[in-house]
Symmetry: D4
Subunit: 164 residues, 8 copies
């Protein structure tokens, strides 16, 4: 059975449609993950326990998504020494994502959160591939291959682009 290396958490199951974009990336690169709801505000003890036990349970990276006054990524980063990737969610109760973004990215010195764009869970997943890839040549090769495919998509787009 595959080792779980990435913990994907979010403040509410309503964030799942966005956060699943990170899962898709991890599956493509065959990296073990776990996926759960961990609310800093509704389940602070669970959040605390999750963050405090993460390293011991073998996790390498935590991806945390939240909206509005989004405290989950920063609080997890306060507790664990693992790299935490923060995903600002443009939820229904957020001010178009501005609150989510600022309350995740503007962390004080000493407690980093690697923040991606609003609703950018796909990129959070990719960071969770790039990090182990720093010491894994095969993953690096796969990432290089993905870059090539991205480039090919541009070529395809041009082949089908109507010139008007």
């Amino acid at each position: 059975m595959k080792q779980v290396e990435v913990g994907i958490i979010m403040g509410s199951s309503s964030d799942a449609p966005i956060m699943r974009q990170a899962i898709e990336v991890l599956k493509k690169f065959d990296i073990g993950y776990e996926f759960s709801v961990v609310s800093a505000h509704r389940s602070p003890q669970r959040m605390f326990d999750y963050a405090a036990s993460a390293e011991g349970r073998g996790l390498k990276i935590i991806i945390a998504g939240a909206g509005g006054a989004a405290h989950l990524p920063g609080m997890v980063a306060a507790i664990t020494t693992l790299p935490v990737v923060g995903v600002p969610i443009k939820s229904s109760n957020s001010l178009d994502g501005w609150d989510s973004l600022l309350s995740i990215v503007q962390m004080p010195g000493d407690i980093p959160v690697a923040t991606v764009g609003v609703n950018g869970a796909k990129n959070a997943g990719l960071l969770a591939v790039q990090i182990p890839a720093t010491h894994n040549a095969e993953l690096r090769a796969q990432l290089a291959q993905m870059k090539k495919e991205n480039n090919d998509k541009v070529t395809k787009m041009n082949e089908t682009l109507e010139q008007f």
Copy 2:
């Protein structure tokens, strides 16, 4: 010795000059307080313990100030059932206070933070008077007296205002 009813906390001692404005109000109304640094990010366990023990230690209200990605008020509110008053601080690493304000006020349903204006520690202190005043006629009389004095200040301003 006076019972400590209000816990005033802040993310860093650099927030003290602002937060002391709350103390001045509490002293004026002769309400017992304690004042300490409790960083959600640098001392998460202390924050957790502070919030979890607050009610048991006899606190009635917590005033929490923080800047940037300001998680302290919201996290304390997640743990305690006491009313939490949040003070957004315009600290040097904040985006002119916008990040502090949004990451305090935009809390999700079920976990309120009573937010005051940016650097509004004086008003936080006053909320911590108004709350016990709801069942304390003497405090209400003092608050009414303060309103009268505020009005008198306007009268004074007009007496000395140069008409040009």
Copy 3:
């Protein structure tokens, strides 16, 4: 008959769908309330009278919701010594709620408004429970129970979360 302790007011009946979220909380905690339209702009005398008479009529807390250039919470706070909870409404004529939020939260020193997030009437209701709970052990127990239920909801979400 139950004593009315919380006055819930709003600038227009179009704000009612949001403001009723505060009522639901108060009903759950069995706290007496009254609910009415009090416009600072269309009925300034009514607003004045409402605020000036609130304490005498036995109210303990006022929850005021308004949108756009939202003056109701701050004006009521200028007149009464009761704690005022402000709810910024994202109404059709507001700039996505930014105007509502800023014109409620940015009160000058001496006149606090305990502001919740945009459309955050549920949290306003909870503050109106937390305030009497500071001297009511039963209410505190109920609030603790609610926190437990919030935590249970997270557990439930995890039980039904599809792992993909």
Copy 4:
């Protein structure tokens, strides 16, 4: 003695340096004015009385300046039928003037405030000239003369502009 036609009010005497720019305009056009501090928040009854008595006392126009959660112009407009000109002040406790501007300009339908730019008291003074000028040919001639002088200033600027 000259009839007082314009009431200039502000939330605090600290707003006076800005608001005096309106006075300078009115003096230049020889229009009677009065100048006072009327705080919606610290002296609500004075504000109420001021607005309610303004028409009876012969005022034609009210210029009101305020900063932060600036409620003075809108509340005065709620009470009087006179035209109210609002001046958003970028005060020390404001968010760079954004809160002042939005809480003055975003008034609901039925209660207009004629808003000028941030710290734009000079233009407020000019509106208080343009309004009586609608039925006063001499004032219109003076305004036309001022426009000519503005144009002449541009000519002067060009005469002294170093071409490098």
Copy 5:
């Protein structure tokens, strides 16, 4: 035939649905108006001629609505000495109305535009009533009556408000 006293102009006929709210007010108060498209950008000469001839044609007030980089109100104010009321329109090509608002309200000293809220054409119409009302007791009485009706609407809202 009624004298035309208010010129209502807008940058495009697509702004008409908003701007007609000003007309409804003027009709209610029986004030003569004219309504036309005058684009500062597409018809600068027409704009110039309109503004330059307005006073001579007997207009007393100009209401100008525009969206995006909204130059119409400010340019008309640059040319005429009549009071100009600016209506920021949240048009499809605007940044949610922020650009419209700022490019109308932030006029330099010497050239005022009396700005109302975003899409606030109704209030623009009311300013165009309040201005002649400064020397017309009957209009003032009608405005006072309207204030009374506004207040009655609040009473009505309360009579039909479901208490839950």
Copy 6:
């Protein structure tokens, strides 16, 4: 004598320190220019005449800088068919440049203004070189040389950068 090809205008002589950065570029590339104050708001007729006569006087490009509710670039673009480059100025009466930027860049369809960054007069000057360079190989060579020099500056920076 050198043909004047670029007209550099600004709303006030206080904008000159910024706008001279455009002049320095034009001098370096030996392109003829003229420099003057043309205020859309204080000298609308001069603005009109300037824009209407520009092509006839042999100008090829107009660079216009303005702050606050910045109408100069857009109005000139409304009148002339020459390309107009707009420079948003962060003047003392502007909201940190946001108003200047939005009121210049957000032009409606059919009337373009080529906008540069806030206070970006240097880049405005460069656009006024790039445009004639489209049909002038020598200018293109000079621009290529400048790019080389820019690159060399980076090399220099690295040679002197302390490694710590």
Copy 7:
């Protein structure tokens, strides 16, 4: 066969509906263009090659549209000496266009991007006409004709505008 003078590029084919508005302008003025997808992020080498070869291939102007963290216009401008017109796109992953606008317009000194409004591809097309028109009297005549037609549209709008 017509010489291609304008290169229109965009970060993704999803930007095509907006960018085609530039094509329509160029077709109307009979200016040769090419249209393709060139992503700075997905195809950086293609972007590099496109920009580096543009001048040699006879292009005179490049129009580049992009959304979110929009780097395409600025990077192309870094590589070529041709004038680059930037079109901020309000794409689904952008913060209502604010990120697109700021990351295009706020270029550092020495590397200009002529920025148009959000989704302003039509105006980008017009700049690509105005630039060659600086040395082409026929194009200038066509542009003057277009201005006349714009003015006629305003006249038409007025002929059909219902007076209410």
Copy 8:
């Protein structure tokens, strides 16, 4: 000699005072780094070469700081498969850091940039420690020790905090 694992780059040597904060962290954790100016706009080929060669030269992580329309982090991320940490700089030509932040964090799907707060180079340095720490127990122990020291600092602050 120590292996260089982290490449720290910035758009200009004026960003060095901020970016050196990352160096201080790396020195403390004894991680090899290199430090240089690589401007996406002034030295695009150098940027391209730097990014393309980074992996081959043994770099594991790139930290890139830039201000205004900040394209450096995103362009490097487009070219390399290494994780890129972006530092938004509040430079003199930026809109208070908003442009820097948005043009770094709002990257499209497939090309992540791990963004830290405005001027947050210290946290960028820490991410560059946390990433190798995912497979280095000693580094993890050092990070845990740093967390302990952060907590101790809070204890110290409390020991010296004047209670008033």
